[in-house]
């Protein structure tokens, strides 16, 4: 499979209290960042031959002006060969998705949208510190449909006290009414350095207790699979196999990817490297004609193997049983008996409950 290309747009209107991604709540440095990106593209253009996915993530790529978006895409198209059928995704925030914006984005060649809806409940949206209303989110989906997008993914968040099961189901049903091709349902995680993390350390008021969170997870999976979605990764659902995110699959199957922009990670099959987590340092490095790389690691065979396990048990694709150590037979048997794994087509595939234990499964299966 061909490598994927990722561009990190590190800007947001304001910082959401749960978000651990690198982004800054300001538009001022966009021009400098764009200049840096141009240089980074120039320096890395020969790194891989061809890509079959492009993902503009962030941050909030939709908040860039039409001119800047056009500039970025033409730079990429000029310097990196993409296959004609490439999956081109843009992450959008409902706030900026007007009909005109949707039309324009479509005209640039973007064929997949990931919309940061998070919830269709105004109270929940407020709790999450989001700047859009539920009405705005609904309108955004309609505009995207009108603009002709046939592959729309909605991002939703659940698993916190401010959203009991009933409220979550209402949001899910609302989401389904738009027949999205893709759904990402993330259980809220307390990321390092976030407002939620700090607040939670004080009074533990945010995250659901483990038992309830597990119940929400299982219910979500059952509900969506019943509606015809494939639960193909821990937090991801697709209407059918061909609508699974081609780009994200690369992360989970050790397929190379090149990441551009501050904090972006890259992987070439053996080596992984990552950019600095700061727009200023990113621009500074590129201005001095240096790559903005902060660190790298070369993976040993054992490390690649461990990652394959860890990533495999997070997807329906599963883990090729031929890579499992001979001594894992007992563990496989036990995990099947406990209903966490199934063996199919020579792969150990996590069940719905297996997904819930995905961080733990590799410990049983590794040598």
């Amino acid at each position: 499979m061909l490598p994927g290309l990722y561009v990190h747009v590190p800007f947001c209107d304001s910082k959401c209290p749960y978000c651990g991604f690198y982004s800054i709540p300001s538009k001022t440095p966009v021009a400098g960042w764009l200049k840096g990106l141009e240089k980074e593209i120039f320096h890395t253009k020969n790194r891989f031959e061809r890509f079959d996915t492009l993902y503009l993530g962030g941050g909030t790529p939709s908040m860039l002006s039409d001119r800047d978006l056009e500039r970025i895409l033409s730079l990429i198209f000029d310097h990196y060969p993409l296959t004609p059928d490439a999956e081109i995704t843009l992450e959008a925030n409902p706030c900026q998705v007007t009909l005109a914006k949707a039309d324009f984005i479509r005209s640039l060649g973007v064929n997949r949208i990931n919309l940061g809806v998070q919830s269709f409940d105004d109270r929940v949206l407020k709790f999450l510190g989001r700047r859009h209303s539920s009405q705005r989110a609904e309108d955004a989906v309609r505009h995207l449909r009108s603009a002709g997008f046939q592959n729309i993914g909605l991002d939703l968040i659940y698993g916190f006290k401010a959203q009991p099961m009933k409220a979550w189901m209402t949001t899910l049903k609302k989401a389904l009414s738009f027949e999205p091709e893709h759904l990402s349902c993330y259980q809220l995680t307390l990321e390092k350095g976030t407002v939620f993390k700090r607040r939670s350390q004080k009074n533990n008021s945010i995250i659901l207790p483990e038992k309830t969170a597990a119940a929400h997870f299982l219910a979500t999976s059952a509900f969506l699979e019943n509606k015809g979605y494939v639960h193909y990764e821990v937090s991801n659902f697709a209407l059918n196999k061909s609508l699974e995110s081609r780009h994200n699959r690369k992360y989970w199957r050790h397929i190379p990817y090149l990441g551009l922009g501050p904090s972006a990670h890259s992987f070439d099959g053996k080596q992984r490297w990552w950019n600095v987590r700061s727009v200023r340092e990113y621009c500074k490095a590129l201005n001095e004609n240096r790559l903005p790389v902060e660190g790298n690691e070369t993976l040993t065979k054992e490390q690649l193997h461990l990652e394959s396990l860890a990533l495999g048990v997070r997807t329906r694709h599963g883990v090729d049983t031929t890579i499992l150590p001979p001594a894992s037979g007992n563990a496989l048997f036990m995990l099947q008996r406990q209903g966490l794994l199934k063996i199919k087509r020579g792969h150990a595939i996590p069940t719905r409950r297996g997904y819930l234990m995905a961080d733990h499964l590799p410990l049983w299966l590794s040598p």
Binding site: Q303, M357, D359
Partner: protein
């Protein structure tokens, strides 16, 4: 011809032995200052980390005295903790004299006395040295008084020094050459060399450390180990400088090593006498007292297929630690392993740690216990040092446990706290002495079982580090004992059971359940932990099942982070043992004994 002095430094722990040894090594110019590192003789990692001496170490210091005479001073550094008294007495057998080091601020402590008596037993010349005179809290006059009154030594002969600053170190060296007698023993007599230590070298076989009492030995000689008459050809002899230094001969009076390709580990016995095959000594040297272990525990390899490698490791380890005794053992929960006897708790910890570090073993050690005696209804008497073999209660007519006399020396102000601690540990028959104003020595008769685990730590806590502790075994006394079983999900885990006093059984059971709950990680099913006597459950706790362990997002940067976490967890898992369907961490087997707040 160089003259020889063989000496050792004995002291209570922390009074400055290792530091004084460092200073003497520097003063004699054996090491360049720039190559110097502190606690030079404590070369095991574990000694450096814990800041204690565990093994005796020999080193030969070249010294020219004030009159220009040349000497070889053989220094043997010895451990200070009670558990290692055995090492001390072995070192003393190779010396003619000792430096008795006393901290100028702390004064005479329990171990100072114990060591002094050991030195007297060997008829050694004793030079009192008062160390740390640089400390503002140093009270030389009162320490002199203690030396006179408590130790019965002439305090006028005491040398004042600060090992830290180097003052008085020259006086110490002069005293060694002038006040200690030269070794006796003639070079003309048949070889008698006392093995006081040994260790295994994968390339060279067993390397024995010995003191030559008479005769001499050279490469090419054929030596005989007197206890089993095994013979070997000597490949190399030499002395210890900072590393081994080959010599042409080792002769009467000297301390050094012999390498003779001894590959059969069990041929070497600490305390044995080496002689020459063609001119043997008529009888061996007295050797050492057999040591009697007082604490017992079993060790098992974490992975059962590593049993063979544990056997080998133990044999090689034993060369270097003659005090450890072991024999085969097996447990339903843990498989094949060894029942080991130790001199004390610190000894036990050190053995476990050295086996893991130096021999790369991954071990499970069960909770330590003492040796109990039972009188059965049929008139038989049996000894039990493993709870597994606790007799059927219906057949027991009387049970006995070992008692010790604990001597605790403390500043007076801690008396209340220490009394309370001792009473809590079933102490009886208390006695008090006032060795000097402000200090008190408390003696208690106590069951050994009550001090083997954390008594010493507790004592240090309640006395803020000012308490010193020593004990001697008294006798066996009748006691009301029961066997406490621990069950995991209804299954008895033999390796977790304990023999306890009936009155304390419930508290112990509760404590064990609580500890295990903390130690055993959550599983995908609930784990019931129960403590039981006979069939009656007297304590319980539960480890809840865990239902969810998955992170929501896993993209670019998350992957490295996740892998690193897994690598760490995998390491931790290597130290776990499957007991039935429950994974129990290595540490849990000993933790059942740990009480609160440590």
């Amino acid at each position: 011809m160089k003259q020889i002095r063989n000496f050792s430094i004995i002291a209570h722990i922390d009074h400055g032995k290792s530091t004084l040894a460092d200073r003497m090594i520097q003063a004699t110019g054996l090491v360049e200052t720039r190559d110097f590192r502190d606690q030079l003789l404590d070369n095991m990692d574990i000694e450096r980390e814990r800041g204690i001496t565990i093994k005796s170490q020999a080193i030969t210091l070249p010294y020219v005295d004030r009159e220009g005479r040349e000497f070889a001073l053989n220094l043997i550094d010895t451990p200070g903790h009670v558990d290692f008294s055995y090492e001390v007495s072995r070192a003393l057998a190779s010396c003619e004299g000792v430096l008795l080091l006393v901290d100028a601020a702390q004064g005479v402590e329990a171990q100072t006395m114990a060591n002094l008596f050991a030195a007297m037993e060997h008829d050694l010349e004793i030079i009192p040295v008062i160390n740390k005179i640089d400390l503002p809290s140093a009270d030389v006059e009162s320490v002199k008084e203690q030396i006179e009154m408590d130790l019965g030594l002439d305090s006028e002969t005491a040398i004042l020094c600060s090992a830290k600053e180097g003052t008085g170190v020259d006086d110490v060296l002069e005293a060694i050459v002038n006040r200690l007698p030269p070794p006796l023993g003639s070079e003309e007599d048949p070889l008698k060399a006392l093995i006081f230590d040994a260790h295994y070298d994968p390339f060279r076989g067993t390397i024995v450390s010995c003191r030559i009492f008479s005769g001499h030995v050279r490469p090419g000689d054929t030596i005989r180990l007197m206890f089993n008459n095994a013979t070997y050809r000597v490949e190399e002899v030499g002395i210890f400088h900072l590393s081994r230094e080959p010599r042409k001969t080792l002769s009467a009076g000297e301390v050094g090593y012999i390498i003779s390709g001894i590959k059969t580990v069990s041929d070497t016995r600490i305390g044995d006498t080496v002689t020459l095959a063609d001119n043997p000594a008529p009888e061996p040297l007295p050797g050492f007292k057999e040591v009697k272990p007082v604490v017992f525990a079993s060790i098992y390899p974490v992975a059962s297929d590593e049993y063979r490698s544990l056997v080998e490791a133990l044999e090689k380890y034993k060369l270097n630690d003659a005090a450890l005794i072991f024999q085969k053992d097996s447990s339903a929960a843990l498989g094949l392993g060894f029942r080991c006897g130790f001199l004390g708790l610190l000894h036990l910890e050190i053995v476990q740690e050295r086996l893991e570090r130096e021999f790369d073993q991954s071990l499970i050690m069960t909770a330590p216990t003492v040796q109990y005696r039972f009188e059965l209804t049929n008139g038989d008497h049996i000894t039990v040092d493993n709870p597994l073999y606790y007799p059927d209660p219906a057949t027991i007519s009387k049970a006995f446990e070992p008692f010790i006399r604990a001597s605790i020396m403390i500043p007076e102000r801690y008396m209340g706290a220490v009394m309370e601690l001792c009473l809590e540990r079933r102490g009886t028959n208390s006695k008090f002495h006032y060795p000097s104003p402000g200090r008190i020595e408390i003696q208690f008769d106590m069951p050994l079982a009550e001090v083997i685990y954390d008594f010493y730590d507790k004592l240090k806590t309640v006395t803020q580090g000012y308490g010193s502790f020593d004990y001697e075994l008294l006798d066996y006394r009748e006691s009301d004992l029961v066997k406490l079983d621990i069950l995991l999900n209804g299954e008895k885990v033999d390796a977790l059971c304990q023999i306890v006093h009936r009155d304390g059984a419930r508290a112990r059971a509760l404590q064990a359940c609580k500890r295990l709950k903390e130690e055993i990680p959550r599983h995908m099913f609930k784990i019931a932990i129960q403590g039981a006597i006979g069939g009656t459950i007297i304590a319980r706790s539960t480890v809840n099942a865990f239902r969810k362990d998955v992170t929501a997002k896993c993209y670019g940067g998350d992957i490295t982070r996740k892998r690193k976490l897994l690598e760490k967890q995998k390491k931790g898992k290597k130290r776990m043992k499957m007991v039935g369907s429950v994974t129990v961490p290595q540490s849990a087997f000993v933790a059942v004994l740990k009480s609160d707040n440590n």
